[in-house]
């Protein structure tokens, strides 16, 4: 190839082009390595395990949707608290320990683009993890339909759902996830060890979770409304009933933006003070 051909290189200065490139690579790194599939497999296994527990409960008590019983459940918290560190712990820590951050920061790429690219890739992967669970009502419909068509009987114990039953859980899981994923990336940017990043992130999420439980321990003291406001368990309970509230949206989106801004500061700081 001659130098002449080489001089006409198509170039772009688009900020979003770079962001999309990083996002694409990060998202593919979940799906093109065993890492993502192991998490996905475990998630489906866990969700299936607790679905049968939920169906047991539902056979005794009715009145709420299957989504409510799925999310208002002890099993859910085991899953919910540990899934964020698993998804995010390697994002920045791995770049730093492999030295690939150097490759990023010597190309015309800003720290913001790196962090946002990783953030949206992790968030999308996180949302994908929930899709099997969100498909359960639909799958149960399909199952019922099959029974009707194959055996000609109308099955009992149909799982009833309304659009709100779906939309509520999807929105609260996405909204709160947008903050917890950001928190995980912040923890990952603090260290070059994925283990430390995972431990710190788990602790942070557990502390946040128990902040919402403070009124249960201390009763309704004057500052209790603040803790109710932060309570992820109460929010999830409300949303999975189909009660959509904008306050958590404001809370988690502003926390996510703040955390990501902090992450940018941390990454720059660690580079400047090496």
């Amino acid at each position: 190839m001659t130098e002449k051909e080489n001089t006409t290189i198509l170039r772009t200065r688009s900020w979003f082009y770079t962001l999309r490139t990083i996002f694409g690579r990060e998202f593919r790194s979940y799906l093109c390595t065993p890492f993502g599939w192991v998490i996905l497999g475990c998630a489906i296994g866990l969700q299936g395990f607790w679905l049968q527990a939920v169906l047991q409960t539902m056979s005794k008590a009715t009145g709420e949707s299957v989504m409510f019983y799925m999310l208002d459940n002890v099993n859910f918290w085991f899953f919910f608290i540990f899934i964020f560190p698993l998804i995010t712990m390697r994002s920045m820590a791995e770049e730093e320990s492999h030295g690939t951050l150097e490759g990023f920061l010597t190309a015309p790429v800003t720290t913001t683009q790196i962090i946002l690219g990783k953030y949206f890739a992790s968030l999308l992967f996180y949302i994908i993890l929930w899709t099997p669970m969100l498909l359960y009502p639909w799958m149960s419909d399909l199952g019922n339909l099959y029974t009707t068509l194959r055996y000609g009987i109308e099955p009992e114990g149909r799982i009833n759902y309304t659009p709100a039953d779906w939309f509520g859980p999807i929105s609260i899981l996405t909204i709160s996830g947008s903050f917890f994923i950001a928190l995980g990336i912040l923890c990952s940017s603090l260290t070059r060890s994925q283990i430390i990043a995972g431990i710190v992130c788990t602790c942070a999420i557990i502390i946040y979770y128990f902040m919402g439980r403070v009124p249960e321990l201390w009763g309704e003291f004057p500052a209790a409304p603040a803790f109710h406001y932060l309570s992820i368990s109460e929010q999830i309970s409300a949303f999975s009933r189909g009660l959509i509230d904008t306050r958590p949206l404001v809370l988690y989106l502003s926390l996510a933006v703040f955390t990501l801004a902090l992450t940018k500061r941390v990454v720059d700081y660690r580079r400047w003070h090496r």
């Binding site: 190839m1 130098e3 051909e5 080489n6 001089t7 006409t8 290189i9 198509l10 170039r11 772009t12 200065r13 082009y17 770079t18 490139t21 990083i22 690579r25 790194s29 093109c32 390595t33 492999h98 030295g99 690939t100 150097e102 490759g103 990023f104 920061l105 010597t106 190309a107 015309p108 790429v109 800003t110 580079r271 400047w272 090496r274």
Partner: protein
Amino acid sequence: MSMVTVEHLHKVFGRFTAVKDATFSIDKGEIVGFLGPNGAGKTTTMKMLTGYLPPTTGTASIAGYDIIDKPLEARRHIGYMPENVPLYEDLRVTEYLEYRARLKGICGKSVRQQVGWAVDRCGLEPKRRNLIRTLSKGYRQRVGLADALLGNPDLLILDEPTNGLDPNQIRQIRELVRSLAEDHTVILSTHILSEVEMICNKVIIIDQGQIKANDTPQNLTRNLRAAGRVSIEFKGDLEPVVKELEAFAPVKKVIVEGPLPGGWHHLIVRAEPGTDTREKAADIIASHHFPMRHIYRHIPSLEDVFVEMTRKD
């Protein structure tokens, strides 16, 4: 036109000063050899030029863009190959290079074209479908080099590009750098001095964070203390020969190295740099009718320059 301008660059890590007050400039089209002992500050200086490490004080600019104020513009002009090439192990060679090309803002069909071009130039063709984690050190180095070449940047900063390669690969890389020299500016650091002598038209020597020399290899060797040194072996009386040699103007000192077996003497004549005392010395010995079996004028190499500049004693 100056491609790189470095002014009073200073880098401190805690209590350790890695680079002290470095000032130099590199013109367009120069191939600069960046030399220094281990830990001298070569890599730190290079990392500062690429904008990865911020300097403690001082400034540098690449193609007129300040590395602090306009880091993205400056980086668009740089192709950087780090010392231990960091790579994503889970990608294939072409996937990795395509990703890097996009990060550098190359788009559309140029991505494939550029990757193909870099793969060709770096001899990666047989390994283009391999996963990076399966590559040997030499091929990883080449992936790093191919990465630096993507987008045809004006300035290439190569940190020990031939480190860990076999002699054939070193030769290939040398040819590659030489062929790039036509329309690129290259800064390369290396420990292999013969390489620098062969391809560089400028040498910067750094030791303990300080720039010790910044000149062409010819100028550096010309002014060297070792430059006028002549060694002689002859048989006969030592005293008159030494006396007559010392009387000759450019000669600074005659050193007698212990007697050799068979009555031979070994003399080292130190003279002014750039002079040749061989003829005179041969005349003197011939006038005494002493037999002489060896006379040699030391050709100063970059190695001598390096040793002289960075010697601790």
